[in-house]
């Protein structure tokens, strides 16, 4: 059981800055995120897109913003639990017991939800029957490529993941690569390679096709695909891989007894506390009159929620407002010299 003053759910910009604020006022915290990397939407959806409305930063990309925020919390020792999704939040006296899908548990008086629009999950095939084969012969990510050796693999998608895996798996497997249009959005060099391998007969490239059916009793046998011109083909295949990127889903958050309205959590504007004492929501996921879904709003909300955490984490102490320019104790926490 990990004990901490505050647990932050979500490692996007708001979660990172909230962690900074907590550490600055002398509280410790840990961060959980379902992605395998820090940065949230900034890193997953628009790492290369410029942002123009971060105060005092005229222009930066999602990736640059993330890196700067990571640099800003470098002085502090903050434990990140990546690739883990918080599944359960339960009351236990004055504390919350929080469990992730990997079995990590936390005991904390404060839970700060900085979850954006929810956790990122892979987008799946529209064909309902695919669920039956999921994690057996239908996959949305690859953990061990060895299992595909000598088999027939059908890959769907038009981005880098689909192209990279088509090239890689074609070395030891029979590969069908299927995409809904002729244009791909992956790197040109990989695309050239795929087209070359298709010419050599090492990849069976089928464009303007989409899956319409999947067949098999206990084991996957074949899939049906249909073209824009309504041509239907049946392909024998051992495995199917879908690479359609990620989608955000609120997921388990909706089971924690919070007031949720249109996929956002209602909070007050003093502490950014939800209807549950000690659970806060900040950033895109919170709602209150006048809420703006801007990164700068998330920073403000995180700063206030962090102060609210102090009261529950240190019930016998009094929080005193201090500036970073002058506070000796803050400078000590930052590891910088005092004047």
């Amino acid at each position: 059981m990990n004990k901490t003053d505050a647990l932050i759910i979500g490692a996007g910009p708001t979660g990172l800055f909230t962690a900074h604020q907590l550490k600055l006022i002398g509280l410790d915290c840990e961060v959980v995120d379902n992605l395998d990397k820090i940065g949230g939407q900034c890193i997953e959806l628009y790492p290369d897109k410029p942002i123009y409305d971060i105060p005092a930063v005229p222009e930066c990309t999602g990736e640059e913003l993330t890196n700067n925020l990571i640099n800003q919390i470098k002085p502090f020792d903050i434990k990140f639990h990546l690739s883990e999704r918080v599944d359960e939040v339960k009351k236990d006296g004055d504390n919350w017991i929080v469990k992730t899908n990997s079995g990590t548990t936390f005991q904390t008086p404060n839970v700060i939800i900085a979850g954006g629009v929810g956790s990122f999950e892979p987008r799946k095939f529209p064909v309902k029957e695919c669920e039956k084969f999921e994690d057996q012969s239908v996959f949305y990510s690859i953990k061990d490529k060895k299992m595909f050796e000598g088999k027939t693999i059908t890959i769907f998608g038009g981005g880098d993941s689909a192209l990279d895996w088509a090239v890689e798996l074609s070395k030891n497997s029979k590969v069908n690569l299927i995409h809904r249009r002729d244009e791909f959005r992956g790197a040109q060099a990989t695309l050239d390679k795929v087209r070359q391998l298709a010419k050599e007969g090492k990849i069976n490239l089928l464009t303007k096709f989409q899956m319409i059916g999947i067949k098999g009793e206990n084991k996957l046998e074949s899939i049906d695909i249909k073209s824009d011109d309504k041509e239907v083909k049946t392909l024998q295949t051992d495995y199917v891989l879908g690479f359609f990127g990620l989608i955000m889903q609120l997921g388990p958050i909706s089971n924690w007894g919070l007031n949720i309205n249109k996929k956002t959590i209602e909070v007050d504007t003093e502490k950014f506390e939800t209807n549950q004492k000690g659970i806060y929501a900040v950033g895109d996921i919170c709602s209150y009159p006048g809420k703006l879904k801007l990164i700068l709003s998330g920073f403000h909300e995180g700063a206030l929620a962090a102060r609210a955490c102090f009261k529950l984490a240190r019930p016998n102490e009094k929080y005193r407002f201090e500036f970073t320019t002058s506070s000796k104790s803050i400078k000590e926490r930052l590891g910088v010299k005092s004047d």
């Binding site: 939407q41 959806l45 628009y46 897109k49 629009v117 987008r123 529209p126 998608g157 038009g158 981005g159 995409h179 809904r180 249009r181 244009e183 959005r185 989409q210 824009d228 359609f244 990127g245 989608i247 955000m248 889903q249 996929k263 879904k293």
Partner: protein
């Protein structure tokens, strides 16, 4: 006096709204007057029309405001920008008449537009 009256009768009255019809997957029709300048996505979100999630808020970064445009409207819409088709690759059941509704800005040209909302967004 005649001229003033004539002006009054013959000047077309400026209508700040355009009619957009949203049809959900279970065939419910929503005829909505959407303010020109907003996007078809915003028109749906502001009027609580189910089925348009718009997770990223209109940044062409998530493909959860996916709609099917009635065929006869396809040519009248603004052309897809770079990146829209890339996002549509990830949408749930994209078709040839698929568009991201955050990229369709409501104007006189779009008055009367009909869009179908897919069964789900992802």
């Amino acid at each position: 006096m005649f001229y003033i009256l004539a002006l009054f009768f013959f000047t077309p009255i400026y209508n700040p709204m355009a009619k957009i019809t949203y049809i959900t997957h279970d065939n419910k029709n929503y005829e909505i007057n959407v303010e020109k300048g907003l996007t078809v996505m915003e028109g749906a979100v502001q009027n609580d029309i189910p089925g348009i999630d718009a997770d990223c808020g209109g940044g062409m970064a998530c493909a959860t405001c996916h709609v099917y445009v009635k065929e006869d409207w396809l040519d009248k819409l603004p052309k897809k920008e770079d990146g829209e088709d890339d996002m549509l690759d990830m949408a749930f059941e994209p078709k040839q008449n698929s568009r991201l509704s955050c990229q369709l800005i409501v104007s006189d040209d779009l008055d009367g537009l009909v869009v179908n909302i897919p069964f789900k967004q992802g």
